[in-house]
């Protein structure tokens, strides 16, 4: 059974209360001693959400808040009739097909010509010892072919990843955690980032997306962490446009009044690695639209 470290799911000002934190720490550290298996962790992660939302079908977690709220789901279904990301998707398709100055294409940098492979990212790259996200791979493809890198938070990167996600729709996330201490460390770092409180509001990613999915924060219904990257990139009404995973992480950080990290920083890539790994098996649904 999945369980959460702190009893109950109330948010605590208590993290500021030192003695209690120390006490809890002592208890929980005892609990985590010993070997933890990421595959078992991922199962527990999924089970937590399945148990919390017994009426939501597993695949539906890829639709974020729309899986949890009927009124919002209807608004979304209406929008999906002619989704606002349509223009970006088309632009991405054109960009993807357009050759670089040297005559090569994005397709030459990826297996299967880049079609239907989004579910395999991020990947751990043994040569460099780092996590390679799809956004990073796209820019590495550009620079390897003599092109300038494009902004990780801009519309072009969103359009390219939208197209690549679209060709992978329905394919289950299949992120590999190879038997390599560095890969395991990247996963652990991503996990730690996910649960670490930050910013003036003292929120972690988990505060919103593990403890309170389905609840409203202002008007937004918080998405469950399970499947939260499956719909990326997303057209957010709040942005009035498309945004990448990098852009979303940066916005999340700002929302808790934390200074965002650099897009595709090690922390963000590791976080993406962790979040994708625990969502293995859930279908890619991107590009998506969100409030």
């Amino acid at each position: 059974m999945a369980r959460i470290g702190r009893a109950g799911s109330r948010l605590g000002v208590r993290s500021l209360s030192m003695p209690l934190a120390v006490l809890l720490l002592a208890i929980t550290q005892a609990a985590v001693a010993g070997n933890v298996d990421p595959a078992a962790e991922a199962r527990a992660f999924r089970d937590y959400f399945f148990k919390k939302f017994p009426n939501v079908k597993a695949d539906d977690f890829a639709n974020g808040p729309y899986a949890l709220n009927e009124d919002m789901r209807r608004q979304w279904e209406e929008k999906e009739q002619f989704p606002p990301y349509e223009f970006s998707l088309e632009a991405g398709k054109e960009m993807f097909a357009k050759p670089f100055a040297n005559g090569k294409h994005y397709a030459d940098c990826f297996p299967d010509q880049g079609i239907g492979i989004r579910q395999n990212y991020p990947q751990f790259d043994a040569a460099s010892g780092k996590v390679v996200t799809l956004e990073l791979a796209l820019n590495e493809c550009r620079t390897a072919n003599g092109e300038k890198a494009i902004s990780y938070t801009g519309e072009d990167m969103a359009a390219l990843t939208a197209y690549m996600a679209f060709t992978s729709r329905g394919k289950p996330f299949d992120v590999k955690l190879p038997d390599d201490a560095r890969a395991r460390e990247a996963y652990e770092n991503g996990k730690r980032y996910f649960y670490t409180r930050r910013g003036q509001l003292n929120f972690s990613c988990a505060t919103c997306h593990v403890q309170n999915p389905g609840e409203r924060l202002r008007a937004e219904v918080l998405a469950p962490a399970l499947g939260i990257l499956n719909a990326m990139p997303i057209y957010r009404s709040d942005w009035g446009g498309m945004g990448t995973i990098s852009r979303r992480f940066i916005t999340c950080n700002s929302q808790v009044r934390s200074v965002p990290l650099e897009p595709q920083s090690e922390e963000y890539r590791d976080l993406e690695y962790f979040l994708s790994y625990v969502s293995n098996g859930l279908p890619i649904s991107g590009p998506g639209s969100r409030p």
Partner: protein, 164 residues
């Protein structure tokens, strides 16, 4: 979803009118008209109605009369808008001889959101996406057989979409 776009051969023409024309419009010397075929229709773009800050005024300017509520109008809108910038709103009606449908959002800076002209043979059944600045009732107006009817529904807006 890309869907059907490849299925339609697209003939395309993108025209930006000359600066002169824009200046004239700015001065209100000429009113821009849509496709020439529209000259056949009596209605012009109701410029003044779209500038109104008050719902009643806009309706009076647009129709020269007041509306009476009708249960023959089905107005569909979310209870809580996920974002005020994009609120899906649709209307359908069983009223006969509908000639126009309009949407008024009383709390918006300009209250008239959209005015749809319905020629004979077109169904009185419209869906669109509107901005809402704050929580307010949205009013759908249906002109039917020379009379004006309305339906109202409240939409809660916590993230305002006044133009966003």
């Amino acid at each position: 979803m890309t869907g059907s776009k490849e299925r339609f051969p697209i003939t395309r023409r993108l025209v930006l009118r000359g600066a002169g024309a824009i200046a004239l419009v700015g001065l209100g010397v000429v009113s821009l008209r849509g496709a020439p075929a529209l000259a056949a229709a009596n209605d012009k773009y109701p410029e003044e109605a779209f500038k109104q800050k008050d719902g009643k005024e806009a309706i009076k300017l647009l129709y020269g009369r007041t509306a009476e509520p009708s249960d023959k109008i089905k107005l569909d809108a979310p209870e809580i808008a996920e974002n005020g910038a994009v609120v899906p709103i649709s209307v359908s009606t069983t009223l006969a001889d509908v000639t126009s449908i309009a949407f008024v959002v009383p709390e918006n800076p300009n209250v008239l959101a959209a005015y749809y002209r319905i020629p004979q043979g077109t169904l009185p059944n419209i869906a669109n996406r509107l901005k809402m600045a704050k929580t307010t009732s949205i009013i759908a107006l249906v002109e039917s057989g020379g009379k004006l009817f309305s339906a109202t529904k409240e939409v809660k807006v916590t993230v305002g979409g006044c133009g966003g």
